[in-house]
């Protein structure tokens, strides 16, 4: 949203007439600027440009909902049609942030309701959204057309029902990995609430909604939504039902297949013949993206063969398949750019991917057994195979139990275009499997050889040295995730002093203390946030940071409010804010 600047309050006063003509001209020109970085730069040229840009910004992106108050955002950007808002820190996904911490959507929707009558689109990530919030949203914005909720919580099917019923122009309803909670008595038949007249739906994703849906209503909705391109159903949709939906909507480009499982003994439904399902897939000539497979029955997997050659994105990360089951599929997926899979395919399966997916850009290998002492099916050799077969790789997330520096170095050399490198060696502090050395050299090679790297997550046995490498070579790194790593405060000092583009820093269980934290004082205003938990911080150091930087909000988070009286700081979350400390902090958060 632009850096902190003074004199903003005067920016709203009307300018003299001649300047107003100029401003109108500028406004017309600035309409063409799309990227927020460009817009932010334009807004800094002078007051006139600032005003003009503010009038023409259509999408407002707020990366931390506490960095700015709703009132301030709305006052500046009066003509916004879309809001993107992010709330909780990412480590909340792993239960490190106690529930009730904050990031509620309520104050935002309450402020927008009178101010943005033309609001069309809202995208929220890691926020708490209540059914009441959804109802207010549905009632307040007659042009509303696009709701995307990612990793949110606080709402249930009653909220979805209100959206379905009242948003007459809804085109997109994408619910992605949300925690949709329903008390048993309250489950609403939300799919039925889409009125007969609503026929403009383009995208509907509800994989995370855990209760069964009214299939007849869903089918009717799909039939009348001729513009529907993306449909992702939940695991309560059987393979028979999926087939019917696909036949009603052969124009789909993206499909989430639900369970991919037949319901045994379902009344009147004979076993589905694989060949019949395959012919349905053959008729879906526009499919480029497949996901789902939540309870995959392996016999049905060959049904997707007809679309494999067209697939750009394939998500099998809920399917427990072996290398042998994968091979017939992946050998046909020559155009794959994005592939998400479970480690059950093993190194052998990864070899197959490397052999056929020459254009692979993003790979995510998730652990079937996400625990530290699991066997682990993929290792350093799978990583090397991928690096050799997929030189265009830009983004990788790889969970494993065994890794070597040599393999990581190989990847750094074979895949110089890497932008995102996230390696998770699941055993804490595990060294190089073969040499017993720390993993410093491997990650060092990544930052040295991958000049475009912006996001890095490290793991395994790591000393201060790896952070020295990151500081010296990782000049483009914007996001860094650290866990169980480093020896001393030097590590933190290196990265805070050496990485000018660092914006998001999340650290857990590493021996970094106040001295390390204080070395970042010159940089914290340029960052979106710093998270440090189970480190060696004390309240003295954190208070020093808060004292030095008045526009920084320094939160100390405990499990219960009693934790906050001690000198040691268990969890620290700091972020810049234009509007000072938030007023909705719960008792277990102390703002210094």
């Amino acid at each position: 949203m632009g850096r902190v600047r003074g004199g903003e309050e005067r920016a709203d006063q009307p300018p003299p007439f001649s300047d107003q003509v100029l401003e109108n001209v500028i406004e017309n020109v600035l309409e063409f600027l799309e990227y927020r970085r460009d817009r932010n730069a334009a807004s800094l040229v002078c007051r006139s440009w600032y005003r003009a840009e503010a009038q023409t910004r259509r999408e407002v992106f707020i990366g931390n909902c506490y960095a700015v108050s709703p009132a301030r955002a709305i006052t500046r950007f009066r003509a916004a049609r879309a809001l993107v808002l992010k709330g909780r820190p990412r480590f909340a996904d792993f239960n490190l942030v106690p529930p009730g911490w904050g990031a509620r959507f309520s104050p935002w929707v309450a402020a927008m309701a009178p101010a943005y009558p033309w609001l069309e689109r809202v995208c929220l990530k890691r926020m708490t959204v209540s059914d009441a919030d959804l109802a207010l949203l549905a009632r307040s914005f007659p042009s509303f057309r696009d709701l995307t909720l990612i990793c949110c919580d606080g709402f249930g099917t009653p909220g979805l029902a209100t959206i379905a019923e009242l948003c007459r122009n809804l085109r997109v309803l994408d619910l992605i990995e949300n925690d949709v909670e329903d008390e048993d008595e309250q489950v609403a038949d939300w799919i039925s609430k889409f009125p007969e007249a609503t026929a403009c739906l383009e995208s509907l994703s509800f994989e995370c909604v855990n209760c069964p849906v009214n299939f007849a209503a869903l089918e009717a909705l799909v039939v009348r939504s001729r513009s529907l391109r993306r449909l992702r159903v939940n695991q309560h949709v059987s393979i028979h039902q999926l087939r019917r939906l696909m036949e009603r909507a052969p124009q789909l480009t993206q499909l989430g297949t639900g369970s991919f499982h037949s319901v045994p003994g379902a009344a009147g439904a004979p076993d589905l013949d694989v060949a019949d399902l395959e012919s349905t897939y053959a008729a879906s000539k526009s499919l480029v993206c497949l996901s789902g497979f939540r309870m995959l029955e392996h016999e049905y997997l060959p049904a997707i063969f007809p679309v494999c050659a067209n697939l750009v994105s394939l998500n099998l990360s809920y399917a427990m398949i072996t290398a042998e089951q994968l091979k017939p599929v992946i050998f046909q997926c020559h155009n794959l750019h994005t592939f998400w899979v479970l480690d059950t395919i093993g190194d052998d399966g990864l070899q197959a991917v490397a052999k056929s997916c020459k254009n692979l850009s993003e790979l995510r290998v998730f652990p079937f057994d996400a625990s530290e002492d699991s066997e682990g099916s993929v290792s350093d050799s799978g990583l090397v195979a991928i690096s050799e077969g997929c030189p265009k790789l830009r983004s990788i997330l790889y969970f494993c139990q065994r890794m070597t520096n040599a393999a990581v170095m190989a990847m750094s050399k074979n895949c110089p275009d890497l932008v995102v490198f996230r390696l998770c060696i699941m055993g804490r502090c595990r060294p190089d499997q073969i040499t017993g050395e720390p993993m410093d050299e491997g990650f060092g090679a990544i930052v040295m050889n991958c000049k475009k790297l912006t996001r890095l997550a490290v793991s395994g046995l790591l000393t201060d040295r790896v952070f020295e490498y990151i500081a010296n070579h990782g000049k483009s790194v914007r996001t860094l995730s650290v866990a169980f790593a480093g020896n001393t405060d030097l590590s933190l000092k290196y990265i805070l002093e050496g990485c000018p583009n660092l914006q998001k820093l999340e650290i857990r269980d590493s021996p970094f203390g106040d001295a390390g934290l204080l070395s970042g004082i010159h940089h914290f205003y340029n960052m979106r946030f710093v998270w440090m938990s189970a480190c060696k911080l004390s309240s003295a150091g954190c208070k020093e940071v808060a004292r030095s930087l008045p526009h920084l909000v320094v939160e100390v988070i405990g499990e219960w409010s009693q934790d906050l009286d001690t000198d040691a700081v268990e969890k620290l979350y700091l972020y810049r804010s234009l509007d000072g400390p938030r007023e909705d902090a719960p008792p277990f958060v102390k703002i210094l």
């Binding site: 009730g100 695991q235 309870m295 057994d369 969970f399 998770c424 502090c429 595990r430 009693q562 001690t566």
Partner: protein, 242 residues
Amino acid sequence: MASGLMLEETELRLGLPGGGAGELAEVAVIRSSGKRGFLETIDLKLKLQTPAESKESESTEQGNKATDPHEKPPAPKEQAVGWPPVRSFRKNILNVQQQSESKNKEEQSDKAAAAAAAAFVKVSMDGAPYLRKVDLKTYKSYQELSTALQKMFSSFATSGNYGSEQGVSVRDFMNGAGKVTALVINGSEYVTTYEDKDGDWMLVGDVPWEMFVDSCKRLRVMKGSEVVGLAPTAMEKRKNRG
């Protein structure tokens, strides 16, 4: 810096009904990470416990989790919260999938049986303003769960004084539901209950651990005085159904 010890011996019966004599409870004073002062926890010796388990439970909890990398990293006995960093949403779904894949006899079924996919349930405590979530699969016994719950809630219940009535202990008492084993936190008695698959609220501890993990949907730590009218024990339920 020793803190107060348990003042009474109690007889515990957390095994299956009809079992032999109960065991004595011991107190293990366990030092926390050093940052917070002491937590008193109870080292419950269940009848069903193996010697290996009892050794594990007597060990101190992890001090500083960030080890000196020049030493061999210690074999972790406790899983760290949120590690590996896989969203609980993803862990839970795979768990559901395993249960329904009962007819899958390929090599995957061995993995499925051995896998410790997560079982996240909400935990509420009467009087505490916020819920917690725990992954039941990270515990191997009622004892481990009990220890974790005590840690979680004792910092809420204690008021910082460590007199003889403070801290956590275990006591049996009788109420309308029969004999109940209670956590005594700060002088008040709390009982752990759970909601099972049928929606009934049961006392924790009646059934074998694995059965409990499979059927538990939610946990609630409630005041002992309110434990009236709970569903009959799980064993009786099964008997009544015939």
